[in-house]
């Protein structure tokens, strides 16, 4: 079969995108369309003393100017964080109030205080400039470490000292003992740089209230429209769920930033009711930098101990995580349960202790960005391994090999039970593909051109496929993390798959169709994937955490099981055979070993005409299933990066990048490799280019593509992507998920390569030419002094 599992099926969805016929949120325009422009705070921390909208109200095209007092007055609820983290002293996390439009205090530059609704976008924006807000400035704190200091400005009254929680995982005493008995201890202080996710499609919302039906429709740029509806309904009191339809049409990338329900969507829905108009808001890129949730931003001190043979004896981590001005939807989970449980990496470590303090600052809220917690953990573990190997004079690959987990299942001391993998194999695969044996010669050749060439490793594991609902619930999650699917076989045999997963670039319309084609032997073109609309799909948890494969596809498989069961019964009845003898292949439903068969569409027709069904069988051929995994999935990978550094300028070029990934069973290698290319490039971006910068007053200095450096085509090489499959035992397809691997594994590989090239471990991300040049000069100081 050419369209089933494991085949490079070209994407079905491409046609509309390559012809300009994609339908993104901003492409929707209603007849009575009005436009929203937000009035945002230019101060990072201030009291709002008053809002003067009189001039704006009188301006051409202005329909209304609305503020936070009206919003809260109408009962719209505060934004919430849906994952409750408990501090180690047993106290609950300190969540400060966050209103969609600030009423009395603004806490970051960009915090919205009012919204102007006007006939045109330009009129709304011009009028927004005329809204005068009287602020009384308050002292500002930007960095997490400063926020914890005595006398730091207090951001939320209910979070004394700006501390949200002080949380730990692992056995501290055992870890201290492990470190005490170590023959060698490596210590690292690392910063994980703050990033802006930057999906290329800016966020957008088109909200329409129908007074006659008392019903809302929201088109929005969401990775999880059902979660959006749930939260908008249950917590923000916009409308009950049956009166609110959320549609996430074509969505131009997410990377985490489009998981959350933002103030703008809430406000547009409410404003459409207030003004009796359809209200549209589309973010400008500058607004996106100011309001899209940021990612990362950790400061960490860590120690890893080794015995004389290089085996890890203990790993102790102390992290401060900057969560920004408010707690975003899943923010609390990112530096805790998506971070500390990954500290065992691919290694058999008996003693791990991780302490995390999360703090408020006067910056954009921080939440999940591609990888979410796992890149931060991996960066720490993999820089630690490379640095320790250098300190101990060992080959970094050999040090890793000595510590690899060899047997599965493997229980780590930090919650996770690894289910399957072959870490030595993927490292070997990567080393061969990267021609590590030939590296020294390449280094010499580069030297002859005046370049410093370095090689760096990253061997990492992810916990993906979020997640077993029971486990997530026991750790504080406010939602279950299963997925749902519905398989509808139509009377003529075509198939519709309704899924709660959401595709915003992942290619579900193709890959989900492939698993149906594989199962029922129908052409991919006769399978339609329906997603992203709460009126069509009953419920779903959406796409993030590399979960569409392991969880979303598994739900489809479960529903297909039920369909197949009924197909067998109908065919057995019609063909007068035993159900056990029915087989489905090549578009035929056959009786094994005979020439008796029904075409696939004949079974569909039989189910719907219902003239000759088994006694008691309901007509129709449509089944629903929910899949809740019993464990995370654990994709793993070995990345090898080679860089060349120009010692005169500090300019770094990634010249070779090899990945060997174990994603379990791969449905479409072409699409999976594309996910790796993109993820690795975001990882290279974090390592070399990207950094959100605030000044001490909390002003965002990287607020456009002039100052925030996105990876461009010339910043990256072609990638060599290798695969090795150890199927996940915990879902029916054996898939593990592939969306985040690149972003998780790449940053340490790049930095390890640069530090290898320049001969010093003292280098922070992003390794800009200036940073590399400085590190190189600092390392060469004794020579310079001659």
């Amino acid at each position: 079969m050419t369209s089933g599992i494991g085949q490079n099926v070209k994407r079905k969805e491409d046609k509309r995108f390559i012809t300009g016929k994609g339908r993104y949120t901003d492409d929707h325009r209603n007849d009575n369309q009005a436009y929203a422009a937000f009035v945002r705070s230019p101060h990072a921390h201030a009291k709002v003393l008053g809002i003067d909208a009189e001039e704006a109200r009188g301006m051409e095209g202005v329909i209304d100017v609305l503020d936070g007092h009206q919003l809260t007055g109408d009962g719209i609820g505060n934004l919430i964080c849906g994952w409750a983290i408990t501090s180690k002293d047993g106290s609950p996390m300190n969540m400060g109030a966050w209103s969609a439009l600030a009423t009395d205090t603004v806490r970051y530059v960009g915090d919205a205080v009012a919204v102007v609704i006007a006939e045109t976008n330009a009129q709304a924006r011009i009028a927004a400039e005329a809204v005068m807000v009287d602020y009384e400035e308050l002292p500002v704190v930007v960095h997490a470490i400063d926020a914890l200091k005595d006398g730091a400005p207090q951001i939320h009254d209910n979070a004394p000292g700006n501390l949200i929680y002080d949380w730990e995982l692992g056995d501290e005493a055992a870890t201290d003992a492990g470190l005490a008995e170590a023959a060698h201890v490596t210590t690292l202080d690392l910063t994980n740089n703050r990033l802006s996710p930057n999906p290329m499609e800016p966020r957008s919302a088109v909200a329409t209230y129908d007074h006659a039906e008392d019903h809302y429709t929201l088109y929005t740029t969401s990775q999880n429209p059902h979660v959006a509806r749930l939260v908008l309904s249950a917590f923000y009191n916009v409308a009950p769920e049956h009166k609110l339809r959320v549609i996430a049409p074509d969505v131009g990338g997410g990377f985490g930033a489009k998981i959350y329900i933002y103030p703008e969507e809430i406000t547009c829905l409410w404003a459409s009711m207030k003004t009796n108009r359809s209200v549209k808001w589309t973010s400008e890129r500058g607004e996106a930098f100011l309001t899209d949730m940021h990612g990362r931003d950790h400061v960490t001190h860590a120690k890893m101990g080794f015995d004389k043979d290089g085996r890890i004896t203990g790993f102790k981590i102390d992290t401060i995580a900057n969560l920004g001005a408010y707690m975003s939807l899943f923010s609390s989970s990112v530096p805790t349960y998506l971070y500390a449980p990954l500290m065992s990496g691919q290694y058999d470590i008996q003693n791990i202790h991780c302490n995390v303090r999360a703090v408020y600052t006067n910056t954009v809220p921080v939440d999940a960005y591609r990888g979410a917690g796992r890149p931060e953990a991996t960066y720490l573990v993999e820089r630690m391994m490379e640095t320790a190997a250098r300190e101990m004079g060992m080959d970094p690959a050999e040090l890793r090999r000595r510590n690899f987990v060899q047997e599965f299942p493997h229980q780590t001391p930090v919650l996770m039970q690894y289910d399957a993998g072959d870490f030595p194999k993927i490292l070997e695969l990567a080393q061969e593909a990267a021609d590590v044996a030939g590296f020294e010669e390449r280094r010499r050749e580069a030297e002859s051109r005046g370049k410093l060439r370095g090689i760096g490793y990253s061997t990492f594991i992810e916990a993906c496929g979020l997640a077993p609902s029971k486990a997530a619930g026991s750790l504080g999650a406010g939602v279950g993390l299963w997925e749902s699917a519905e398989v509808r076989v139509n009377p003529a045999g075509t198939i519709e798959i309704l899924t709660g997963s959401h595709s915003h670039g992942q290619g579900h319309e193709t890959t989900f169709a492939q698993i149906v084609a594989e199962r029922f032997g129908v052409p991919v073109d006769s399978v339609q994937i329906v997603h992203g609309d709460t009126d069509k799909v009953q419920f779903g948890m959406g796409t993030y955490g590399s979960r569409s494969g392991p969880v979303g596809m598994s739900a489809v498989v479960k529903a297909m099981d039920k369909v197949e069961e009924k197909v067998r019964q109908i065919a057995a009845h019609t063909l007068e055979a035993s159900e056990d003898d029915i087989e489905i292949s090549g578009g035929q439903v056959k009786v094994k070993g005979t020439d008796k068969a029904m075409a696939w569409h004949e079974v569909g027709l039989a189910a719907y005409v219902a003239h000759n069904l088994p006694d008691g069988m309901e007509p129709g051929l449509k089944e629903t299933a929910f899949f809740d995994p019993v464990n995370f999935s654990f994709p793993s990978g070995a990345f090898i990066c080679e860089v060349e550094v120009d010692p005169d300028t500090g300019q770094t070029q990634v010249v070779r990048f090899t990945s060997a990934d174990d994603f379990g069973v791969i449905v479409n290698p072409m699409i999976v490799e594309g996910q790796v290319h993109g993820g690795v490039t975001q990882g290279i971006g974090q390592a070399l280019l990207e950094q959100v910068v605030y000044d001490e007053q909390g002003q965002l200095l990287t607020g456009s593509y002039m100052d925030y450096t996105m990876p461009r085509a010339a910043d990256v090489p072609f990638f060599d992507v290798q695969h090795h499959e150890t199927p996940s035992p915990n879902n029916p397809l054996g898939v593990k998920g592939c969306g985040e691997a690149g972003a998780i594994g790449a940053p340490p590989a790049v930095i390890n390569a640069i530090t290898d090239a320049i001969g010093t471990n003292d280098l922070a991300m992003p390794a800009t030419p200036q940073a590399v040049w400085r590190a190189l000069r600092a390392a060469q100081k004794p020579m310079a002094a001659e």
């Binding site: 999906p199 290329m200 074509d250 594309g674 456009s704 593509y705 085509a713 010339a714």
Partner: protein, 156 residues
């Protein structure tokens, strides 16, 4: 308001627009050609790239009224019945994921292939990467975009 007329995708169009109307807004809002995307506000991302009088232009950098009489081709107009080789190549080589930057990439790709051919220069991978300086993609890591343009160049 100023009256502007131009030929877009071979069709004569005209409208009264405010003077500050950008070509990108004119295409999206007046003509409802929503394949031209706006991904930034500082003319860096290239999602809005179109062809004006045969050359690639970022539609967010041009005022509509400055293009009186111009011939404009957008992503909706490159196909002419069957797909352009550049469009086919993006599908064949998985040169797109979310699709948002894709129209700009395709318009930039067609332009660079034509330009290099006219100038008799070789459009190798390094040249393609250099030429894509003004087009940002967040999904693909550019790997398959470069391959798509290489592939199309061989077939155009």
């Amino acid at each position: 308001m100023t009256k502007v007329t131009m030929k877009v995708n071979g069709r004569k169009v005209g409208a009264d627009v405010p003077d500050q109307t950008l070509l990108s807004e004119f295409l999206r809002e007046n003509l409802r050609l929503t394949g031209t995307h706006v991904g930034c506000d500082t003319s860096q991302c290239g999602a809005c790239a179109v062809h004006v009088n045969g050359k690639v232009v970022k539609a967010c950098t041009a005022l509509a009224v400055s293009l009186e009489g111009a011939e404009v081709t957008t992503i909706e107009g490159v196909a002419n019945g069957e797909l352009h080789p550049m469009q086919v190549a993006f599908n064949d080589n998985h040169g797109l994921q979310c699709g948002f930057c894709t129209p700009g990439m395709i318009m930039a790709g067609i332009d660079m292939v034509n330009r290099y051919r006219e100038e008799g220069r070789e459009l190798d991978a390094a040249a393609i990467r250099h030429e894509l300086e003004g087009n940002i993609c967040r999904c693909t890591g550019y790997h398959n975009i470069v391959k798509s343009i290489q592939d199309a160049a061989a077939k155009m």
